[in-house]
Symmetry: C2
Subunit: 331 residues, 2 copies
Amino acid sequence: MKRVKLGKGGEFDLIRRLVGNDDGADIALGPGDDAAVLRDGWVVTTDLSVEDVHFRRKWLNDEEIGWRAGAVALSDLAAMAATPVAVLVSMAVPRPAGGDRALDPEAVQRGVRAAAFSVGATVVGGDLTRSPGPLVIDVVALGRTAWPVQRDGAEDGDDVWVTGPLGASAAAVAIWESGGEPGPELRAAYAHPEPRVSAACGLVEQEVVDALIDLSDGLAGDAGHLAAASGVAIVLDEEAIPVAEAVVSAFGLERARDLALHGGEDYELCFVTDPGVVDVSYFEKKYGLRLAKVGTVEGLAVGGEPAVRIRRADGTVEELQRGGFDHWGPS
Amino acid sequence: MKRVKLGKGGEFDLIRRLVGNDDGADIALGPGDDAAVLRDGWVVTTDLSVEDVHFRRKWLNDEEIGWRAGAVALSDLAAMAATPVAVLVSMAVPRPAGGDRALDPEAVQRGVRAAAFSVGATVVGGDLTRSPGPLVIDVVALGRTAWPVQRDGAEDGDDVWVTGPLGASAAAVAIWESGGEPGPELRAAYAHPEPRVSAACGLVEQEVVDALIDLSDGLAGDAGHLAAASGVAIVLDEEAIPVAEAVVSAFGLERARDLALHGGEDYELCFVTDPGVVDVSYFEKKYGLRLAKVGTVEGLAVGGEPAVRIRRADGTVEELQRGGFDHWGPS
C-alpha cells in the first residue's frame, strides 16, 4: 500500500493531507507506515492496482494480474513483519471493447488466491462490480504480528540492507514501453513478485531489525521514507547496490543502477540493523536470499531535512534528487 | 460489501465461484455473509464505489460521494452487529477531462471520514492513485463484535422486520436518470445513507435477532439472501412494507412499492426475530427508528429452493421473480 509515505512526490503530499491521525484505543498504529496496526496484533493494508497505471493487460495474463495485485498488498504485510492471514479482493471489471480480449475475473481471482496461498493466507471476501473504464483491483491484506516493525527505528551508525537484486521489474516495464519484449527473468520480476514474508519474520525473530520497508518506490525513494520516518540521513553505496544481472545485460551498468535506485516495484525488503549483526550466509541458506549491505545511516537529518545521499564509485557523495516512481505526479 | 450473496443475479453467481471457502484458524467466518469475521472478534468488509456504476458525479458533490462510499461499507458492519473501529480508503482519481469539474480527493476523503466518525470509527490508511477512467473508491471497514449476527438464523414462524421506510434512494436515481432533480428527502436518502450501527447493536443487546442483513439490493433481494442462507421461505406482506412518503408523492403507490421491493440502496436493516418479541415503541424512543414488521418466515425452503413470496393487498400470494439491482448483469 502506498500510504502516507514521507517522500517528496505529489502523491505523498496529498495522501499526507488526506489521512488524518485521530487514532482510537483499538488502533495501535494509524497512518504513516506500510500498514495500520489494530488491537490484538492485527495488521491491515489496502492496495489498488489500476489497468494502464500499474499494469497493462497486453503485458500480463489475467492470473498474473491477480498474483501481482495480491503480492503487492502482501508485501506491505512483510514490511511490517506480519504473518498474512486473510485477503479481500475487490474488482471493477470492464466489458470487452473492440479488440480487447475478454477479461476472466475468475483467472484474476485465482492469481490473487495463489499469491495469498503462497504466504499462508486465505481469501475471505471481496466485492465485484463492472467498470466503465479500466480494470481496477483493490486487495486488502490482513495479518498478525506481536512485533510490528516500523520505519522509524533507524539510528546513526546502522547498516542498511536489501534482500535481493534490484531493477528487473522496472527494466521489464521500460522494455515493454519501448515496444520490446523482456526476457523471462525481467518479465518474472514484474509479473511474479514474491512477498518477502518469511524473510521479514526471520529477521524479526533474530531481533536485528531497527526499521523495515518494502521496495515499492525504488531504493532511493524507500530509503528516503526510512530516513524521513527515523529522522536520519542515509548514505547509499553505489557499488554495493545489487543490480539484477539481466538488467545490466539489457541496459548496461549505468542505466541498470539508475533502474535499481529509481525504478521501483522490486518488492524486496530494505531494512536497517545495528552494525555487524547480520549473518549473510545463514540468511542465504535459510531463505535463499542473498542479503546486500547497501549503505549506512550517517548522522541525523540536517536541519530537519531528511536526506538520502549516494557514494559514487569514485568516492564522491551526492544528494539523490529524484524520488521513486510517482503514479500521482505528471507522467 | 456485495459479497457472495445468495441471490440469482449474474454478480452473485460469479462471486460465489470466485470466492472459495478454505478458512483457517484465524478466520471465524469466511465468505458468504455481509463481512468476514476474524479471530478476536474483528469483522472486515470491503466495498467498491465506481463512478457511473454506483453514482454519477453530477448527482453528488465530492464530499457526498465520500460519505456514501463510506456509509455503504459501514452498513455491512451494521449488518453483522459489529461496532466500527477503523476504515481504509483507496481511491483511483481521474484527471479532469473537458467539461468535467475537477474532483477534489480531499473532499471525498472528508466525506468518508465524516461517515466513519458518525459511527465512532477512524480512517487509518488507504491508497491513492490516478485513474485513466472513472473515479473508483474502495472502502475497507473494520469493526469488532462479540456476537456477529449472520444471515442464516431465520426459523419457521419468525417475524421479518425493517428499520425504516424504503424506496427513496432508488426513487432519487430514477428521477435523475429521467432528467429530473429529486426533492431534498429523496436526494438525502441516496446521498447521505446512515449506517444503522447503533440500532443493530441495540437489537443484539436485546438478544432478539435470529438473522440480520442490510438492505443494499432491495427488500426482495435481501430477504432472498436471508431465506437462502437460512434455508427458509419468507412471505412479505405488501401492505406492511413501509414506503417513503416522498416516493408515493412522486411515483404513486404502485411504483413506490416496486421501488421499495426492488430498488435497493436504502441501507436500512432487515432482521428476523422470534414472533412477538420486538418492542416497537421502545425502539422508536431509543433510536428514532420506526420498525415495521414486513413479513414472516413460513416454512422451510421447498425442494431446496429458497423463496421470497409476497402477499398482495387482495390476499393472493405470488412468488417474487425479480431480484435486486444487479450491477453485474446487463443494464
